[in-house]
């Protein structure tokens, strides 16, 4: 009985180890896609609210009507604005440079 418990514990540790390893691999694989997705979100919200940044913008009412559903995109816009001076470092980190 004790041996069975011990073996179960070891199996669980292995399961946990491989799941973490798998997850880390999976997030490594999706890192570039996530970066692209984040940039697209940023472009989307920038286009929508372009008049604030001085770029050609769609009619204001489009932004007004979509505004309630863009909480996540607004957060990205804010983060990108804060990190804009460090964009090169983010890219270097993504490519494993340095």
């Amino acid at each position: 009985m004790l041996l069975k418990d011990f073996l179960m514990k070891i199996i669980n540790v292995f399961k946990w180890f491989f799941s973490v390893l798998g997850e880390s691999h999976r997030s490594r694989v999706t890192e570039l896609t996530s970066y692209e997705e984040r940039e697209l979100e940023n472009i989307f919200i920038l286009l929508l609210m372009g008049s604030f940044a001085g770029i050609p913008a769609p009619p204001a009412f489009l932004a007004v009507e979509l505004f309630p559903f863009l909480e996540y995109e607004l957060r990205i816009l804010e983060t990108r604005a804060k990190d804009s001076s460090d964009a090169l470092a983010e890219l270097a980190g993504l490519m494993d440079i340095g």
Binding site: R26, L47, F67
Partner: protein, 306 residues
């Protein structure tokens, strides 16, 4: 249901022609609604009635109404503030409406509110009337309102493409990672679940319907002009813009023509309607002194309307 948009330079007699057209059609037994979108609101003055955004019966078959653009904008903004407050209820203590009130001064909101009011009017009243006669604001604002569906649709198309790419990427991430949520927000990865895409499609549908109607056979744009140089110049710009927007300019009315300047009037008509062979043209003589009931006093417009 057929619609006629009476357009032209300020002071050419758009409202008079629109009210005469409405009156004459109603006399023929047609169910007619005459609506003014012009902030100057002459329609009520012409018929001697105080009008509001609720239709008022003038005669057996003729109803009148005036759309208040300021009220239409305020209604639109209120609806969106309510929606925002419903979703971001935690922001209520910050008196968000104070910030959003400023939206009414944002460029394009008034045009959009007018277009929304127009769309609603056409949708609600299409079964109730045979003809809807629309008295429009002066050229600049009218063109901006009528151009809105085309401009908006091209923006929506672009935004939909970007949103589509975002959802594709999210779908890939979801397939590999088994989930997609960031900063505590569960992100949609299918078009059917994405509220932004849904809203974009909903707005697209609304504008597409309006565009199809505006460009269709049941709609006609009437350009009212006067036989003078300034009116010719502005009407020419208007006609070119209508062509660009693919809007059906079908009728031209040369208003306030004097017998002694008939030759000049003919020349202006020729210059204006060059390359526009299919346009029905009507000439209305200047009336001295101006009649009290202007809507009863002009020539038979039904000849060119029907």
């Amino acid at each position: 249901m057929k619609t006629f948009f009476f357009t032209g330079k300020g002071g050419t007699g758009k409202s008079t022609m629109a009210s005469a057209a409405a009156w004459q059609l109603a006399l023929m037994g047609k169910r007619v609604l005459a609506v003014s979108f012009d902030p100057a609101h002459n329609l009520g003055d012409i018929f001697g009635l105080k009008l509001s955004h609720k239709k008022k019966r003038f005669d057996k078959e003729l109803y009148l109404m005036e759309v208040n653009l300021e009220k239409a904008s305020a209604k639109y903004i209120k609806e969106n503030i309510n929606l925002l407050e419903g979703i971001y209820s935690y922001l209520k203590p910050f008196n968000m409406d104070r910030y959003f009130q400023i939206l009414k001064y944002s460029p394009g909101i008034e045009e959009y509110a007018s277009l929304t009011a127009m769309e609603e009017l056409l949708r609600v009243e299409k079964e109730n009337f045979d003809y809807i006669i629309i008295d429009t604001p002066p050229t600049g604002l009218t063109l901006r309102i009528l151009a809105l569906p085309v401009v908006t649709l091209s923006w929506i198309d672009r935004l939909k493409k970007i949103r589509g790419s975002i959802l594709e990427k999210r779908y890939t991430i979801h397939n590999i990672n088994g989930r997609i949520s960031k900063e505590g927000i569960k992100l949609a990865y299918k078009e059917a679940d994405d509220m932004v895409m849904k809203k974009l499609k909903e707005i697209e549908m609304r504008f597409m319907r309006l565009r199809i109607f505006l460009e269709g056979n049941n709609n006609s744009i009437v350009v009212v002009f006067n036989p003078d140089f300034l009116s010719l110049k502005e009407s020419r710009r208007l006609i070119n813009a209508l062509k660009e927007l693919k809007l059906p300019f079908r009728i031209a009315i040369n208003n306030k023509v004097e017998d002694k300047y008939l030759k000049e009037a003919e020349e202006i008509e020729k210059k204006l309607l060059i390359n526009n062979n299919c346009i029905k043209l009507m000439r209305i003589k200047r009336m001295e002194p101006p009649p009290k009931k202007a809507y009863t006093m002009v020539g038979s417009l039904t000849e060119i309307l029907l």
